[in-house]
């Protein structure tokens, strides 16, 4: 288990996220950057490890936001676990599947976060969550193949389960 590399990845991503979160996108929109590695873990790691890593990424997101501590942690952990449980029933290695999963899970997580603020039923909340989920899906579809190559090269998830096989 290469937890040190996962932590280094999380740290680098966190530093980039809060320094340059909206650079490439218009109207203040950006994807849920820290949710994406949680979903990546859900794709490749064992369910328990995916949940733990997702929880960690979520906790980091809480620490770097005005979100109350624990909210993103539980949501990201739950999303990673859900992805890990569902992946055997879908074509999980296909980038469209990953993009659709990223879209649905980002939408679910963002609506849950806004539900806590009692804003989920407001029209503007949904209008903001949809583009964020779409951007996350777009980035996921583009990034996952590179991630798989990086994972094979750097061995971030070596020792985890890949598909039905433990390596």
């Amino acid at each position: 288990v290469r937890w040190v590399r996962v932590i280094l990845l999380a740290g680098a991503l966190a530093a980039l996220t809060i320094r340059y979160p909206v650079v490439p996108f218009r109207r203040g929109l950006c994807p849920a950057w820290l949710l994406l590695p949680a979903l990546l873990m859900g794709l490749r790691a064992a369910p328990a490890h995916a949940a733990a890593a997702g929880w960690g990424f979520g906790l980091l997101a809480d620490l770097l936001s005005v979100e109350p501590l624990g909210l993103s942690a539980s949501l990201y952990g739950g999303a990673a676990l859900l992805f890990a449980r569902l992946r055997e029933n879908v074509f999980s290695d296909h980038r469209y599947t990953q993009a659709v999963a990223a879209f649905l899970l980002t939408l679910l997580v963002s609506l849950a976060a806004l539900f806590r603020l009692e804003l989920a039923e407001e029209s503007f909340a949904l209008l903001h969550c949809l583009p964020v989920a779409f951007l996350s899906a777009l980035v996921t579809g583009a990034v996952f193949p590179f991630f798989v190559v990086a994972d094979d090269t750097l061995g971030i998830f070596r020792g985890f389960r890949v598909g039905d096989r433990r390596v």
């Binding site: 980039l16 997101a61 620490l63 005005v66 993103s72 942690a73 539980s74 963002s110 909340a125 969550c129």
Partner: protein, 256 residues
Amino acid sequence: VLERVGRRRIEVLLALSLLLPIGMPHCAPAATLVAGLFAAVPAPAPPPPDERGAENEAQAALVQRLTQENARLRERLFAKGDPAKLVALDTAFFSRHPRRIEAEVRGRDSSPWRGSLLLSSGRRAGIREGLPVVVGETLVGTIAEVGEAISRVRLLTDPGSRVWGFVLAGEERADGVVTGTGGDHLVMDHVEAGIGGPGDIVFTGSGDERIPRGLLVGTVRRMDDIERNGIAEIEVAPAIRAERIWIVNVLAPEEE
């Protein structure tokens, strides 16, 4: 039951982590401190002395431009009637909060549906929770969390932000509540229908004693067509976009 719980221990642990916000209400400064550590990682090196002069000139030019813009906005207001009494700044508040603590923006919010900025000053400089944060005479947000040497401002665009405001349309004004949406615009609700239109200016109101009346919030972008019992909803464009904010002032009371 215990066996079932044991089999679902991951799910149980995740559900229990939802209790963190209830069980740890006083860890906001710690969270701000951690955020500050990450923000400090790629901090740019200070410019060499010969570049400082150019930077100061650029800052002076920016201040001049903002002052002119402010004057232009005031002129526009006066041209619409006699709103001087309506938009007079809250002198009582400013006499209670005479200090302007300058702070640099060190980082942004990691969540795409929240809006906050990490500031380079904290409790040591006199910043306290709830204080208003401004750029010139424009309200940016309020202080949400404070650490020793770092703090976090909740922007007006954050979905958790609610500020009393009023829209000024000629000689008429309509009060309402300005709420953040998480995106690049604000929503002003509970506004009397039929008052105001695109281009009208929104100021802070006097419903909250922690925020001075008369600060600029933004301009009306769109009016809601659906009228509900005489109440309308207004889409407001913030006066300053979050990604353009680099230096802010925190309005603080005299040192204790």
